[in-house]
């Protein structure tokens, strides 16, 4: 097959603060054949985005150094050395890009029509009028309803999915030969992700262009790519056609990535982690399956009845308007089991978690904890119960106070709740817990900024464990983590549940993860509970239309495609 672009021996370094140099991409070579989709896969820091941005020279000039022997061959020319004026004609003309965050990537003060028309005016000889008309056709082509009106809309007036469609319309406006898609669906809900992926695939075929698809999600790769390039810390570990990568992965890192991520078909006792593949001597892959589900004989520790939460918005001169975030949610949580809460953004799943532990004031309903209604307790009486329900947040970079050492973070709750006789005992307990969550004891004296996302999340879990809670709410706790780290943290959570018999409320938008960790699943949408049932039942036999749509949108990766064929 003929190559459109050939990247050869790409080396990119970054100047860091304080004169340090960081090698982001180390001698990467790969080809993008004509009329095909190449996926560049890797975890954060793998250099996948940097490699892609080097192709069209969009790296920050002040910091990025591309070594002179690197080559990006496109139509007989090395893109790294063509003059800037020629490069401008190529950007947007022959090669165009869509980015991860459509909201910030579109200029907020220009209409969508203007932004697409600008692209056409730059690279074609169309008049302003013709460009405007063509832009409207493009909006129609990418599936925006009512394109004539939407031409005059500003980006903030559209949903995230629509914004990404506008970005795509802009990118394909000048019939590019290559479309670079940099994590285009990561910021979107799963149902929207499905639509955007389908759209990109359809446009690729229709316009006979190539797509360089950058992602961290192998499941998405299986659906969209012809060729796969797997990157890790600036190097290519494996490349090949998609079938080979999924069916006969050669490199242990690829194997690890493929099996770390939970999928909806199986539920091993433990998730495989990267060390299982990278270390010396392969450890046996866990094939034993875990059985899940609430049983009638379970003891319920928490019972929520008709919980509701309305937010007040100012409206008009003096009025306020009630906006329901959660409307009457009811569920039970069994001791030592996990309830998964899934839904798309705006479904109210996080609000449920925050409201039942009184981080938000509830508008109505009951939260019975061991038979006591938490919502009716005075602040003083509630203090005793605070200890027993704890929460691990989503963003490991924001949930630890950057001015506290890990030690201070762990000691603080013990002091507040009078756990441990004196400071020596508390320090000993904190050290033991650090060890338990897989952190070295020296971390006690360090600050959060010295740790990676996964390690910070372990510290956040240890902070909760200091209070020996009965219920742990995990609010998107693994969503911001890389796949390999995600598996480790999920295993840790499972081990802790087995050991301490804690109950989990596991909130996530990631259906595969929820399926893996939950006994029972509650599906929410726009503040309403759609369905509550045992995890296996919901996934095998969804009762509601919305649940079916949600499950249908899960990227199935390679296995499902193959099974269907």
């Amino acid at each position: 097959m003929e190559n459109l672009i050939s990247v050869q021996n790409l080396n990119v370094k970054f100047r860091l603060d304080g004169g340090k140099i960081f090698e982001a991409v180390k001698g990467v070579s790969f080809d993008i054949p004509k009329n095909s989709t190449v996926a560049l896969v890797g975890e954060s820091g793998s250099g996948k985005s940097v490699s892609a941005m080097s192709i069209i020279r969009l790296l920050p000039k002040e910091q990025a150094i591309v070594s002179p022997d690197s080559q990006v061959l496109f139509e007989g020319r090395n893109l790294l050395t063509v003059p800037e004026s020629d490069m401008r004609a190529i950007r947007g003309g022959a090669i165009s890009v869509i980015f991860q965050e459509p909201m910030t990537s579109l200029n907020p003060v220009f209409t969508c029509g203007e932004q697409i028309a600008e692209m056409l005016r730059l690279h074609t000889s169309l008049t302003s009028k013709q460009a405007w008309a063509r832009a409207e056709e493009l909006l129609n082509e990418v599936g925006i309803p009512n394109p004539h009106l939407r031409m005059r809309s500003y980006p903030h007036e559209m949903s995230g999915g629509q914004q990404q469609r506008v970005m795509i319309a802009m990118a394909i406006a000048c019939e590019p030969k290559l479309l670079i898609a940099d994590e285009p669906t990561t910021a979107l809900d799963v149902t929207i992700q499905k639509q955007i992926l389908d759209l990109i695939a359809a446009l690729q075929e229709k316009h006979h262009m190539s797509v360089l698809f950058i992602t961290h999600d192998l499941a998405v790769v299986g659906e969209i790519a012809n060729h796969v390039v797997v990157m890790q810390s600036g190097e290519i570990q494996e490349k090949g056609v998609v079938k080979d990568i999924f069916e006969r992965p050669q490199h242990p890192y690829t194997k690890a990535l493929l099996s770390c991520r939970p999928n909806v078909e199986s539920r091993p006792m433990r998730l495989p982690v990267i060390e299982d593949f990278m270390g010396e001597g392969l450890k046996p892959v866990h094939t034993e399956q875990r059985l899940r589900g609430f049983k009638p004989e379970d003891n319920f520790i928490l019972e929520v009845k008709n919980l509701s939460k309305h937010f007040k918005l100012k409206d008009g001169l003096f009025k306020t308007r009630d906006v329901p975030a959660v409307a009457s949610a009811s569920f039970k949580l069994a001791k030592g089991k996990t309830l998964g809460l899934v839904g798309e953004s705006g479904s109210g799943k996080t609000t449920v978690g925050l409201t039942l532990m009184r981080l938000h004031d509830a508008t109505g309903g009951e939260v019975l904890f061991d038979g006591v209604d938490l919502l009716k307790l005075s602040e003083r009486d509630f203090m005793k119960y605070k200890r027993r329900i704890q929460i691990v947040f989503q963003n490991p970079y924001a949930s630890l106070n950057p001015r506290f050492t890990v030690g201070q973070i762990l000691i603080e709750p013990m002091k507040i709740h009078g756990i441990g006789k004196n400071d020596d005992e508390r320090v000993a307990m904190a050290m033991a817990l650090l060890k338990r969550v897989g952190m070295p004891e020296v971390s006690f004296y360090k600050y959060p900024h010295e740790f990676s996302g996964g390690q910070r999340q372990r510290v956040a879990i240890a902070r909760c464990l200091t209070m020996k809670p009965d219920v742990l709410i995990c609010d998107e706790s693994v969503s911001a983590l890389d796949v390999s780290v995600q598996a480790q943290v999920l295993n840790l959570l499972q081990d802790l549940q087995d050991e301490y018999q804690m109950s989990y409320i596991f909130i996530s938008h990631d259906l595969a993860v929820v399926k893996y960790i939950s006994d029972q699943v509650m599906v929410m949408s726009e503040g309403n509970v759609i369905e509550v049932a045992n995890a296996d039942d919901i996934y095998l036999n969804p009762q509601q239309e919305y649940t079916r749509k949600l499950l249908g949108s899960i990227p199935k990766g390679w296995h499902a495609e193959k099974a269907a064929a």
Binding site: I56, L58, E62, R88, A89, I90, R91, G92, G93, S96, V97, F99, E101, T104, S105, L106, N107, P108, V109, F110, E118, M119, L122, H123, Y154, H156, M167, M170, K314, D315, G316, L317
Partner: protein
């Protein structure tokens, strides 16, 4: 839109009441007895008592506050005492068949009517300050775009350094030196003066103060606007524009400038009420009969009625300007909605 404006006007009432309370607290409470303040000039005890009575300061504080609120409500054009005709002066006039107008608040120092003083002083101030604000903003934006375009280079760093140094020299030094050389020594401009004829003032007496104010204001404006542009350059949409193949100059002049107009407008909005006070230093040095100089003179003479009235007037103007600026946002920033 209309509902928004009405709500904003409604919200001004408590703020204006606050301004009134603050001024009352300062001048009537902390400032103390005007008779004592004025006692340097008057020694006759009876006369002092008489003044106290006329000013109403022999009354309890809540009544004094009421009088002040009355004056504020009618814009200092009528004192409560004259309104109720406490000394019968108006009744007397009426009996004689003459017109008996309400007495406006008067200056303690000159006995002139305060609203008249302030209205006549606003013209010279605006003659200086409007050109300053307009020219400074335009020059500042143009230069800032240029500097932001060459960001990180030696030129950029040198210009920023010069700005920092220029900002560190006192305004006083600039005025003293410029007046001495341009006016006194080289005779390029009149040292000071004012005629009251708008065109003559604008062409003869205003240029030196205007140029001085722009020269001094430009360095901070340039620094600030440059930082606005640099903030915008780091946004994702700039990367998108580059990815579209837009030339770097067009990125700056179209995409970045349009977005940077939002904080620039905010900044001009903050500076706008200040032009009514004017540069009191310039007005003092160049003998321009403007509002700033008038206020300064009043401060030196402890002429409280003038200061009080000026403060209330300017607070009202400020609030109106703030409202106008907020409405202007809608023009510059499509994301703004009036709620």
């Amino acid at each position: 839109m209309l509902a928004y404006v009405i709500r904003r006007l409604w919200q001004m009432i408590p703020t204006l009441a606050g301004v009134m309370l603050l001024i009352f607290f300062l001048f009537n409470w902390v400032g103390g007895d005007p008779a004592l303040v004025l006692s340097g000039k008057i020694t006759n005890k009876e006369q002092i008592e008489n003044i106290r009575k006329q000013l109403g300061v022999d009354q309890p504080y809540y009544k004094q506050l009421g009088y002040f609120a009355f004056e504020v409500a009618n814009g200092f054009t009528c004192t409560y005492r004259s309104y109720v005709d406490a000394d019968g002066a108006r009744a007397k006039l009426r009996a004689e068949g003459k017109p008996a107008p309400c007495q406006a608040v008067r200056s303690w120092a000159t006995n002139e009517e305060v609203p008249k003083i302030l209205v006549t002083r606003i013209g010279p101030t605006l003659t200086i300050m409007l050109p300053v604000l307009v020219l400074e903003t335009i020059l500042g934006v143009i230069l800032a775009i240029g500097v932001a375009y060459v960001r990180g280079t030696l030129t950029d760093r040198m210009i920023m350094m010069v700005c920092t140094v220029a900002m560190s020299i006192s305004f006083l030094v600039y005025i003293i030196v410029a007046q001495y050389y341009f006016g006194f020594k080289w005779g390029m401009f009149p040292v000071q003066g004012w005629t009251g004829n708008f065109w003559k003032d604008l062409t003869t007496y205003a240029p030196l103060p205007i140029m001085l104010a722009i020269f001094v204001g430009l360095a901070p404006a340039l620094r600030l606007y440059r930082s606005f542009f640099l903030d915008e350059i780091n946004h994702d949409y700039v990367r998108t524009a580059r990815a579209k193949g837009v030339a770097e100059k067009v990125v700056m002049l179209k995409h970045v400038l349009r977005n940077a107009m939002i904080p620039i407008l905010t900044n001009v909005g903050i500076a706008l009420p200040g032009i009514f006070v004017g540069s009191f230093l310039l007005e003092t040095f160049f003998s321009i009969p403007g509002l700033g100089r008038e206020i300064l003179v009043a401060v030196n003479r402890s002429d409280f009625p003038v200061i009080k009235a000026a403060t209330v007037y300017l607070a009202m103007i400020t609030m109106i300007i703030n409202l106008l600026v907020d409405v202007m946002y809608k023009v510059v920033d499509p994301r703004v909605t009036f709620k």
